[in-house]
C-alpha cells in the first residue's frame, strides 16, 4: 500500500516552484495574456509495478520521467515603449535563452513569434501601402511552449 502511495505521491506535482521560477524569469516588460500548465502523469501507473520501483529491482520508468511531464504554455505582449518588430523578435529570443537556463532539462520552444516570424526566418509581408480590412488587428504577441520534468 505504501508503495502505491509513493507512486501516487510521485505522480503529483506542486505548481508553486515552477510558477515561481517562471515569475522570476519574466521581466517587467512582459505582460502575459494567457498561461497554461499541464501535467501528464497518466502513463506512470502503467509503466511498472510500484513495489518494483521501491525495491529498485527493475528500472521501472525512463530516467527523467519518474514524475511525469509538465507542459507550460504562455502568450505575452511587450509593454513599455514601442519596439519595432526586429527588437521584439530579439527580445523573445533572449527570453528563450533565459528560460532555457532557468528550466534545465526543459525543451523551450517559441510556438509563435512576434509578427508571425518563424524560428527558421520564414515570414510573409507586403510592401507598399496596404489596406487592412476593418476590424482586423494584427496580433502583436508571442507564444512560448516549455516541456520537461516537474520542478
Amino acid at each position: 500500500m505504501l508503495a502505491i502511495q509513493k507512486l501516487v505521491n510521485d505522480s503529483t506535482v506542486d505548481i508553486t516552484p515552477t510558477l515561481n521560477v517562471l515569475h522570476h524569469a519574466l521581466d517587467n516588460d512582459i505582460k502575459l495574456s494567457s498561461l497554461s500548465f499541464t501535467h501528464d502523469a497518466k502513463g506512470l501507473f502503467g509503466l511498472a509495478k510500484a513495489s518494483a520501483a521501491i525495491h529498485k529491482s527493475v528500472a521501472p520508468v525512463p530516467a527523467g520521467q519518474e514524475r511525469g511531464k509538465v507542459t507550460i504554455k504562455f502568450k505575452f505582449t511587450l509593454v513599455g515603449g514601442s519596439l519595432d518588430l526586429e527588437h521584439k523578435v530579439q527580445r523573445a529570443e533572449s527570453l528563450q535563452k533565459s528560460l532555457q537556463q532557468r528550466f534545465p532539462g526543459y525543451d523551450v520552444r517559441i510556438a509563435s513569434q512576434f509578427g508571425s516570424v518563424t524560428p527558421t526566418g520564414q515570414f510573409k509581408g507586403e510592401a507598399g501601402a496596404t489596406v487592412q480590412p476593418p476590424g482586423v488587428k494584427q496580433e502583436d504577441s508571442a507564444e512560448f511552449e516549455m516541456t520537461g520534468p516537474p520542478l
Binding site: 505521491n9 495574456s33 494567457s34 497554461s36 500548465f37 502523469a41 501507473f45
Partner: protein, 223 residues
C-alpha cells in the same frame, strides 16, 4: 595349544573372544544404527533450527518494517487515502476552497469515478479510484487567487489531489472604468480560468457479485 596353556585358560580365552564378539555384534547391529539415526535426527533438527532462524530473522525484518511504516500508514489513513469519494465531501471541499482562495464564485463538475489499473493495489484486494474535477467560470479579480485555488486544492480534499491542467487567460484590461467599478464594490473579473484536478484514493475491492441500486449509501457514488 591346550597342552601348552591348559584347558581352563583355553576356555577362558574362548569366553573372552565370545564376549568381544558379542560386544562388537551389539555395537554394529544396535548401537551403530542408533548412532546413525541420532546423527540424522540431529542434522534434521539443525536444518529446522536454521529454517526457524531464517523465519525469525524475516519476522524481525517485517516487524522493523511495520514499526517504521505503521505511522506512515496511519497518517495516510487519517489523511483519507483509503476513503470513498462521495459528493458531499467534494461539495464541502469546494466551498472551503472558494473561501480559502478568496474567490467570489466558480463552477465545478465532477466526472464519474474511474478505476486506475494497478497491479500492486490488485494484489492487496484494493483498487485505485480517480475522480476528475473540472473548475471553471471563476470570478476573480486577480490571477493570484487562481494560483491559490490550484495550490489549496490539495489540502481541502483527502489525499491525493493532482493538478492536471490549468489555463488562465486575461479577459479584461485594468483601466479607469474597471477601477471605478471596484471602488463602487462591483464584482471585477480580469481573468478567466479553467482547471482540472484528479482526486485519487485507494479503496477495498467490493465483494464479488453485482451490487444493486440500493447498495450505495447516501452521498456515495458507485465505485
Amino acid at each position: 595349544m591346550i597342552k601348552l596353556i591348559g584347558f581352563r585358560r583355553t576356555v577362558l580365552l574362548a569366553c573372552l573372544m565370545a564376549l568381544n564378539l558379542s560386544v562388537l555384534g551389539i555395537y554394529f547391529l544396535s548401537i551403530g544404527p542408533m548412532l546413525d539415526n541420532v546423527t540424522s535426527q540431529r542434522d534434521s533438527v539443525n536444518g529446522q533450527i536454521t529454517e526457524l532462524r531464517t523465519k525469525i530473522n524475516g519476522i524481525k525484518q517485517d516487524m522493523v518494517y511495520e514499526k517504521d511504516n505503521l505511522p506512515k500508514y496511519n497518517e495516510l489513513k487519517d489523511n483519507g487515502f483509503f476513503q470513498n469519494q462521495d459528493r458531499f465531501t467534494i461539495s464541502r471541499a469546494m466551498e472551503d476552497l472558494r473561501v480559502k482562495a478568496g474567490i467570489a464564485s466558480f463552477s465545478y463538475a465532477v466526472g464519474d469515478v474511474a478505476e486506475i489499473p494497478n497491479e500492486d493495489a490488485k494484489a492487496v484486494n484494493y483498487k485505485l479510484i480517480n475522480s476528475r474535477i473540472k473548475v471553471d467560470k471563476i470570478v476573480s479579480p486577480l490571477d493570484s487567487n487562481i494560483y491559490l485555488l490550484a495550490q489549496d486544492m490539495a489540502s481541502v480534499l483527502p489525499h491525493y489531489v493532482r493538478i492536471q491542467d490549468m489555463n488562465i487567460r486575461r479577459s479584461a484590461e485594468v483601466n479607469e472604468a474597471a477601477l471605478k467599478d471596484i471602488a463602487e464594490g462591483k464584482p471585477a473579473n480580469f481573468v478567466n480560468a479553467d482547471l482540472e484536478f484528479d482526486w485519487i484514493t485507494m479503496v477495498p475491492k467490493p465483494d464479488a457479485g453485482p451490487a444493486g441500486p440500493g447498495d450505495v449509501p447516501a452521498g456515495f457514488r458507485r465505485q
